[in-house]
Symmetry: D3
Subunit: 305 residues, 6 copies
């Protein structure tokens, strides 16, 4: 299956002994990155992808489920899909919890119990998440003159994938598994080019058009009916540093975007500023101070030489 250029005398001898020794030395002493010398089971990108696909299918069975569903069969499908998906999720939650300081040394039983409680809470959140996602889809249909049907928005818009992953990741983050939330966010980033930190709080009816290059930071707060275009950054201006000179993790440092704001392509909004309700931020604008509700911010013009 692999040796695609066999020689007359058999396969190549690579004499790997020294390489393997050097890698062991690197791994165990010179460049050891193992946490406290211990191996911890890691969450799996593939399984988490399957979990998100399973949840998506359960939330929107006619769009993301199987093509043969009808009114009779749909609940069996939803129930079975959720069972499989939650069984998968609970194992990933358990693994991710080991990376939270309070569960690093927890016993197996305690860990399992916590993972089940989180997974149950996640399941209970799904109807609410579905309502938010429907509002997002409707915002897309209303906001893009090129959009023609709900199905097109569900299947062909990267912004839909990004917000779907985000709303699930945010729920996991809120429930206490930030590692898993981050992994989900990164999967969405790879699929869409849209990078939303799972801790960011985003209101209903959110729409990102095109989306490539959008970055939304950890402590950003976004209101309802907000619309973003590609390459918009809601970032930090500087990183708070503690008394000991190290970075303060988690401190508010990203913008607050109030309801009904539109931010056009390439705009960069930085720091814990507030973009007042109903404002419009023009393309490529560089904004580092708060603006009142109803503002119109646009960029200086280029010159023709």
């Amino acid at each position: 299956m692999n040796s695609d250029f066999p020689t007359a005398s058999g396969s190549v001898q690579w004499h790997l002994g020294p390489v393997i020794d050097a890698l062991r030395t690197s791994r165990e002493s010179t460049h050891n990155i193992r946490h406290q010398g211990r191996v911890r089971e890691l969450p799996s990108r593939d399984i988490l992808t399957a979990v998100v696909n399973g949840v998506s299918a359960a939330l929107f069975p006619t769009h993301y489920g199987r093509p043969d569903l009808n009114d009779e069969s749909i609940d069996y499908f939803v129930g079975d899909t959720l069972n499989v998906t939650l069984d998968r999720l609970v194992g990933q939650v358990r693994r991710a919890l080991r990376f939270s300081p309070e569960y690093e040394d927890a016993g197996d039983a305690q860990l399992a119990e916590r993972a089940q409680a989180i997974t149950r809470a996640f399941a209970a959140s799904l109807p609410g998440i579905r309502a938010l996602l429907v509002s997002d889809v409707q915002a897309a249909l209303a906001g893009d003159p090129a959009a023609r049907s709900v199905a097109e928005i569900m299947l062909c818009y990267p912004g839909t994938i990004a917000i779907l992953y985000h709303r699930l990741a945010h729920c996991l983050h809120r429930l206490g598994v930030p590692f898993l939330a981050r992994l989900a966010a990164d999967i969405a980033h790879s699929l869409t080019g849209i990078d939303i930190h799972p801790a960011a709080r985003i209101g209903a009816s959110f729409f990102i058009d095109h989306g490539t290059g959008v970055v939304i930071g950890e402590t950003a707060v976004i209101g309802e009916r907000v619309r973003l275009y590609q390459a918009v950054t809601l970032g930090a201006r500087r990183f708070p540093v503690g008394d000991d000179g190290s970075l303060v993790k988690g401190a508010p440092r990203h913008p607050i975007v109030e309801d009904d704001v539109v931010i056009y392509a390439g705009a960069t909004v930085l720091g814990r500023i507030t973009v007042g309700a109903g404002s419009s931020i023009g393309g490529n604008v560089w904004l580092t101070h708060s603006v009142p509700p109803g503002s119109n911010v646009s960029q200086a013009q280029s010159r023709n030489t």
Copy 2:
């Protein structure tokens, strides 16, 4: 296969009844997004990807087909690959047509007939599409000092993938299946970070270098021998609104870029303006008015503080 942390008493009971009920309520009444209450078969992202791969293999069998082809075997391969691919495509066309208002209520036979006619026309367009794509590849070879061979451009350039998908998507759009065209465009977007609306009209010998973040809007018109770099936007300035306040879909609102124009990285060109033939638009330029042929537009400088 899934329960990776079995407990002594068997798998976890998730008590999903209330969740499933709430999801049904959400689906059927509170947040129903089903079109006219009906389930329609949806086109499949996976099958459409297979269709594009099949067409690519038929167009460029030695680059995208099988490695063992020779002058004798190549036509059998092309013929068989096209047959399989068109059989797949016709089913996707049929599904996508249901989303066009004029076929929403068409009979099965009428729908099948129309899908076959479209698929036949698509097949007949392939030699012409191949000629355009060869011009694009040659433009890349001529335009990028880092490019060393046709094979490298075929295999390693996201711009090649983007224009390949676009030329096929545009053909589908022109033939009357915009949904399928949009889906193909979104697949390319996810693979490359380049977002070209399938309705955009693009002339021969087109080259996008690097490409991440490029956005080309629905009504853009691009001439021959045009070159774009990453993060270029050919977008709309504002959206026409009809008498009733709703967005007018499909109105011309994106730029016309004439022959032999180069647009450097990060430039934003907005509105139904014309960039005259042979112009050069500098990096990060923000352009919202027409410029005559031969223009050189560049950005204001940053300052060193």
Copy 3:
């Protein structure tokens, strides 16, 4: 398996004869892009992906290998994984060498010997590459206030994937297989939105945050402890043209970035300029001239209308 709408009279007859003839004509005469009329075996994107995955697993078995490894089993895993991976790689190297002018007409034995020598040298470089990658991961942990563990950076950061691919691709480039290096770079580009030319030279402790839209050109030189944010371009200002008017390939035309520089999101740095050690280049800055060590460059402000 494919005809999803069978009609009473069997599958559709597509009458492909004329299309197949036209494609043959296009392929063989009107739009022939085959190199010197010969078919050369091409490297495979899928196999190269498997090679990178194999090397990653051998370098970081507890993060990218199998979840069940322990101190006893890990060396068997590393050894077996490397053997399989190098057996795969040597075949790809052989194919890629055919695209280097000096091996275009080499005999099979000479080609095989060269491919083995390159693959051996690649294997010998792995411990050194591992040391660099560990420095990169530690730079990420230190540089991002949102990062919480090494595992999170290994699994959830696109910048980690990008630099992993780059360090392997750069090694292949240096060893004389630029085609293969380019292919690896493009795989990373598709996964992360980060586009680093494999010839670029990058020092230890390199960190790219978010990353979408980053472009680093062929002749860029980057020092140690450099940090980049999304959408940063280290590009060429113009392309040197030779006496005959054709592009001069490989000439130095991208920036030199010295140690400890930070370049914020969206900054564009163009041409063979030098960014002095310890400088900070602000977001969206457009920079086309050298700046001395310790510079602070920031953009002009937008105006609120």
Copy 4:
């Protein structure tokens, strides 16, 4: 992916033209076996295998379904599995019906309607089939001194697989799709070495031990609590020939085996004879006449030379 010994000059040219021509001639004229010159869609062995697996999982979810089921999740699983399975089955039924004389020329709608009616009737039969299969498993547990648990009989006994396939195949046969029934029987034959014609009628609590080489003919009738060992044949003695010299298809020509009979390994029972209730037929016996209830038939002894 396939050419595992590439030569310097590319892949081998096989000069297949004459072979392909000769095969076409064979196919279309000299050895044409196409029914009335028409192509009919054929049932699929792979899909039918999936159907049997799906039905098995729905009948015995804890043995043939998923390992993670519990009292809450089991009905969702059964419902969803049945829906998928029946959707698959109905397509296979439709294809198989084309081979029944009365549906050879039926319209598509009529065919679809009939296929749905058969599939519905098949679904309605499942609880009854489950009861029979449970009696079979209990007979195996009682009848084999080596058997230790129901699970062992469900997972490790070829006789269990054979009777499971037979009871489903017999149901399909009875409902009017003999082709599909025959295909299911042949799948079981390949898996187990046990060859039961789907038309054979077999009572409850049936047990075949070891089983390889067992053959049960089309018109055999078997009572309750019958036990067979390997290599038992319940065959035809001669084939009835009609007035025109051709074989009369379907005429009774295989044995009737009454309740509580045991037939030991290698026994051959031929013709429309009756083996009376409670009889015991010894190993390797050759029996071509009826025997009364309670008979004990054994073979002549071998001699020691």
Copy 5:
């Protein structure tokens, strides 16, 4: 993927409610076969197949392993393959132990410990098993005039597969996991038509030619250098019944076959008899009494009518 004949009004509604209810009733009350009402995890046929394949590859890496191994790489392969395989096996052993009365109610920790001890003992037995299997292969090479090479016997002889599975299954049986042993035996039975109970004791240099229909019972004892042909049965004559009328499980009831015996095709040897060393039992012989060493037993002749 499944609905291969979509109708205009969507997929078929199967009205499964009553069927699902009836199946639940059957499962939970009328035909409940669940052990003590509890669900126990079952061993997996697929995983056990993977275990046997893994062990085979570790025992004979150049025949059953990867094609690219050489003297340097082979031990890495063997070590890694064994680690993966034992990790898989230990989980199956744990599941199978639940079906042994003494572990039915064991705690998880006790069960895990016992499973590990058994798996370790299995690993320690592998070199001895390899020696036996080599003797078997050499016996085949010596005993079949049609055999031409060791490789042919390793790859093309069902008898090789059967004895390979048996020697592994017998080891598992001896170590206390009869369920798993039985499952392995049944997999071999399905692949080869050869049915050897895992408890049967078989000496070195054993060869079965052709093999279809061979049955070797639970308490059979076979010496060294024994050769069997297809359809040979080493079976029980009658089953011992205890005072309560139920079958006595495990009592000696199958033949003892001493060293250097040959038993030709179709011979049936029944009961706890002894076939003396060096005897030859002719084809189709029916033997139910012991024969002394050096016996020649043959069948009565057929007559020509």
Copy 6:
């Protein structure tokens, strides 16, 4: 993916060092079965199965090919399938040739040339093989009262699979690759329970009904229109021994069965005898002497005790 029972302290350490050492000792010295100490590439069961499937699809595209073929597309399919299949076959032939004494030490180029010549000859034989197979299918339709259509015989009869594999294997055997032929025969044996040595010569219109346990030896010769039932053996009586006491390989030692013979289930025909044309050999008959044309041989009766 594999550790299905993780413990708190990570995965199990198996301490495999001594086992791996013992296996190496066994492999390299105490039980070394490697041919002359060299590793030879082995043919692959999986690839050969794919080759037989490919040839079957090319011979009978509407029965074993794709369901969507029509008169236009069928030749593309046949041509492409044959090309892929022959490319695969030639690699397997080359590997198998290494096991023929005359090519054991051949140079790579000589081996490749011979493998291509054999593969070409195989391709040229296909139309003739198709004609024979059609005669076999027609014999089945005529000979089995339960058979209803050609399609049923093509899809549901193990005898069809067995003769299909045999006719291809026999061709490979005749062309000088007995190892590959033997491997194909063993695949068929595993699928059907029918064991035909590839060297056996079998005339047109051959039919095996049921088939489990049929064995046809290496030097058997079978005429036209012969019909066999399950468990028939055409075997050797004794093995010729040379002057040195070793088995003489390949000497004629199996029966000659003339035209129009029927041999019923379980009959054993042994030695280089001739069964005269038109004879009927009854079930379970034991025959070791020649019988003249038109004979009727039947077994002695069992007795009823």
